[in-house]
Symmetry: C2
Subunit: 166 residues, 2 copies
DNA sequence: TATTGTTATACTCTATAACTATA
DNA sequence: TATAGTTATAGAGTATAACAATA
């Protein structure tokens, strides 16, 4: 059983959220210029990226996959639609807002990918491809672990609506 | 030489920033309630946490360590000072704004740590303490790698002021 | 002249509640 | 009645430029 000592635990406890934040900040700083050069925000880019790998997606799926709240997604839909990068597609369930990339949207996506590829290659070389794989696995597992915890155990306060009137 | 195939690379390329975002989102969701229960925002909490591990720090160091921009930090200083959680300390260099935790600030910090400890323990048990160590190492190395890249190579667009008038 | 921090300002994201439409 | 999404709204973070004070 991997029972850890209180002292070590405390050290990790405090640094995990920060380590994630700082790693993300550095990664973002590296790639954001390529995205902003095309007048896209990071959340908008996540939506394009998610759509590039799936034919069409509804708002709920996109919100979960891209970590974007529904109200933000509504605005992003409006903005990307105005720019002709995405388009709504018909759906059996009329409640669902399903969208796909337009040809222009896909072209823009490919352009950004191509322009940022040298930086990706450079990072992969410098960091090590195998370690990157390991890191990705751990990140995804961490997320799954936390979500499982939320389902089963509830000694923690409720995950929503805690701050009250702020 | 760890030269990776284009296809695999592409797969990773697109998912690293998202994996970091989602892992952070999950971790935040787990611990945020404990912080918000004491009417603290996450950036405010990072400042308290950084100060808890160092006697006193100046704004520049805190900004870098907590990933907070100077203007935000100014507001956070004001807010935490008003609440009596931090206090300014004298400094040789009169330009520097150095702060430390007050007794109340330290007490609040300890309270939050204590309240969230069960969740930390649960996560460490579920995920594995050794894997958490590995993850932390990789995250910190990733950040260092990216920063080193920024120093040496500059085929990428400048890291600041790219979006122009937006 | 360079550095530190604050102010001013604009924009976006975050978050929740309330509402509409569909199932 | 439950679900999907939009609207409204408040608040906080993000980002930059311009300025003040100190070194």
């Amino acid at each position: 059983m991997p029972r850890i000592r209180n002292k070590e635990l405390r050290k990790f406890e405090k640094s995990l959220p920060i380590a994630l934040l700082r790693a993300r900040e550095a990664t973002t700083r590296l790639f954001k210029p390529f995205i902003e050069n095309h007048d896209l925000t990071m959340p908008q880019w996540r939506v394009l990226r998610a759509l590039a790998e799936a034919d069409a997606l509804d708002a709920k799926t996109l919100a979960e996959r891209c970590v974007i709240l529904p109200p933000s997604l509504t605005r992003i839909f409006r903005s990307l639609t105005l720019r002709g990068l995405i388009a709504q597609v018909e759906c059996n369930d009329a409640r669902r807002h399903m969208v796909r990339l337009t040809d222009n949207g896909r072209a823009l996506f490919e352009e950004v990918v191509q322009e940022s590829e040298p930086s990706y290659l450079q990072l992969a070389d410098a960091f090590g491809a195998d370690r990157l794989d390991t890191l990705l696995d751990l990140l995804n597992d961490l997320r799954n672990t936390v979500q499982t915890m939320g389902d089963t155990d509830d000694q923690a306060p409720p995950l929503r609506k805690v701050a009250g009137g702020r």
